[in-house]
Amino acid sequence: MSEEKKLFKVTIDNITVDVEPGTTILNAARMIGGDVTPPAMCYYSKLKNSGGKCRTCLVEVAAGSTADPRPMPKLVASCRTTVMDGMIVKNITSDRVLDARAGITEFLLLNHPLDCPICDQAGECHLQDLSYEHGKEGTRFEFQKRIFKKHDLGEYIQLHMTRCILCYRCVFVADQLTEKRVHGVLDRGDHAEIATYISKSLDNDFIGNVIDVCPVGALTDKTFRFKNRVWFTKPVDAHRNCSKCCGEVQLWMRGDEVFRVTARKDEWGEVKDASDGRPGWICNECRFDKKDIKDWTIDGPSKINRHSVISQGHYVGVKKPTDFLPEVMGGRGPKLLMDIHKVSEVNRPEIELSKIEGPAHSDDFKGSK
């Protein structure tokens, strides 16, 4: 009765892998992992129908299948093309692919502002990674970039339309996770923009996930806006009992202050599955309102790829040396020549940036000199 499922044999960059029929080339490459995996800006494995828009995952199919070993004439989007038995795919071994990818990256960056010093996504931005790894130095675009009227998406989510690359991921999140979608892509071509049709705020319980899903800094967390840079905060896995979501999150902390709460991410930058096996989307309450360390049970520091800028200044497995000074000095601590916190105006204990709603303004610092 149980007929054994026939597995397809695919060769990607000379590495052969057996995958189930119906798998896309991108997912087959992700099974191999490493450099062989094409980058993806719009495809999101947890969102149905995503993919096929950004074209960064283009690969060359050198042989269609064992039955029909002719190569495909054009490069194909690997997130949308399913594998065939005996298919031979070239990704980084093909010059055509690398050249096309550099071109796509240049196209994506045409209208993307050079906002990285200001942008909160810097450091965990997929477009930054893409342009570092696959892009070319410099641009040939010498015209004015797109500008948009500013839209207010409510008190939690900040939209920067100029940074958007129109990947549609946030639209799929609203469609598939919330009951009602109030935002979408309006207009076409150069004028296409993410907006609510008549100014509405996004206030569904799960709409905060558009922030995690956004590959660039177009949708960012207003409660974290300009509070700190990503690489100065320490990611920590934590959980709490939440009636709405799985409650398994990543806290971005500095000292005991929780600056930001996000869903946990896997190695592809996508939301990880929670312990119950379902995608670990988190609700707005966990994301925006629980900014106190007492709300959470800490599971331990998150694993960060050591090539990521986020791992800067994070020392793994370091033992804090015991402070022997009070012991040898008979219980008396060392006399400090200067206590930096008495002089310094930064990180003042009375101004808790993580507690301020939205970005800090000049009046938040008025109390200090």
Partner: protein
């Protein structure tokens, strides 16, 4: 005893001759050397009145730059703080409010910016890391101070004078290395 190198000289332990015991020739010889230096070119300079020229690559006290309209260039991106090997730089960012456009160049700015000059090693990596041309190492030293507290430099100490309001002080702060246009 075997010597380590062949440059070692044995100490001369012979008793002094009569001429050496007189000491007078040796004194005259020493005075001669002193006298010779009176007529040589002086190596010292009278510091506050006279200053040595700085090397074109000298790295001195930091300065936070403004643009030509007098707006602060720093956007608190934190790249100088990451680049800093001594971890001397800290900052806090804020969002520009309406009506502050003449003060800050971008929508985000450094509300607090602090350099701990006790930690700073003047390596210039912050200057290299800055994407906004906001921080430069100038041609001055950090002035001496009796207390350690005086070496925590805040934004008021670091900011360059406004080119619109105080053009002379701004030109002075720019120093001689900047190309005059």
């Amino acid at each position: 005893m075997q010597t380590l190198t062949n440059r070692a000289k044995p100490v001369d332990r012979r008793p002094m001759t009569v001429l050496e015991k007189l000491y007078l020739p040796a004194i005259a010889k020493g005075m001669g050397i002193t006298l010779k230096h009176f007529f040589k070119k002086k190596v010292t300079i009278q510091y506050p009145e006279e200053k040595r020229p700085f090397s074109p690559v000298f790295r001195g006290l930091h300065i936070l730059n403004r643009d030509e309209e007098g707006r602060e260039r720093c956007t608190a991106c934190g790249l100088c703080a990451v680049a800093c090997p001594a971890e001397a730089i800290t900052m806090e960012a804020a969002e520009r409010m309406e009506g502050e456009e003449n003060l800050y160049r971008e929508e985000k700015y450094a509300a607090k910016y602090e350099i701990n000059m006790l930690r700073c090693i003047f390596c210039g990596l912050c200057e290299e890391a800055c994407p906004k041309d906001a921080i430069y190492l100038s041609e001055t030293f950090a002035p001496a101070n009796f207390k350690r507290e005086g070496f925590i430099y805040g934004k008021n100490d670091l900011l360059i004078p406004d080119p619109k309001k105080e053009p002379e002080q701004y030109q002075k702060a720019l120093g001689s290395r900047v190309k005059k246009s």
